[in-house]
Amino acid sequence: TQLLEQSPQFLSIQEGENLTVYCNSSSVFSSLQWYRQEPGEGPVLLVTVVTGGEVKKLKRLTFQFGDARKDSSLHITAAQPGDTGLYLCAGAKNNDMRFGAGTRLTVKP
């Protein structure tokens, strides 16, 4: 079983739509990171959230860390084809950095 559960597993939307993907766990994390991975490449960090309830914005992306530091969400406004990729959340716990299975997002022009 995954320590971090991501949903949905797959998401296909049209350009301009909004979307939210989720990362949930029963464990508490000292920090949580979101990465994006494109085919044939390694994941690239988008954001790190540390404080419960924290909200961070990165252009059209909004990241939120749950109050209890067990879950997180990523909201994308007006999605673009360039947002296509695998979105991974990773939690830091007990000196480990563990990843979820990811949400594979496809944005159609």
Binding site: Y35, P43, L45, D96
Partner: protein
């Protein structure tokens, strides 16, 4: 600044053969991770090093996998003998921060196919 270098990018072997992957982290990064990413899944941690010491290898199948980080810089991951289920991308990542904190910088990965 040079990124994390991995080689080879692709490797095809038959089951029961051996294979080795090499990783050169970003200069000065103390923490190094090896992850296994099976198609359609997220990266699974195999082993992590802090300098040349192992911090966590609890998920490394030690009967067939081994890893070392001599001199606290480069690292190699070896599989011997390989099984069909070892087909995956092997990602190396490094971080300037202590284990469990900070950004992970990933290489492009080494794609292994076991026939």
């Amino acid at each position: 600044e040079a990124g994390v270098a991995q080689s080879p990018r692709y490797k095809i072997i038959e089951k029961r053969q051996s294979v080795a992957f090499w990783c050169n982290p970003i200069s000065g990064h103390a923490t190094l991770y090896w992850y296994q990413q099976i198609l359609g899944q997220g990266p699974k941690l195999l082993i992590q090093f802090q300098n040349n010491g192992v911090v966590d290898d609890s998920q490394l199948p030690k009967d067939r996998f081994s890893a070392e980080r001599l001199k606290g810089v480069d690292s190699t991951l070896k599989i011997q003998p390989a099984k069909l289920e070892d087909s995956a991308v092997y990602l190396c990542a490094s971080s300037p921060d202590r284990v469990g904190t900070g950004e992970l910088f990933f290489g492009e990965g080494s794609r292994l196919t076991v026939l």
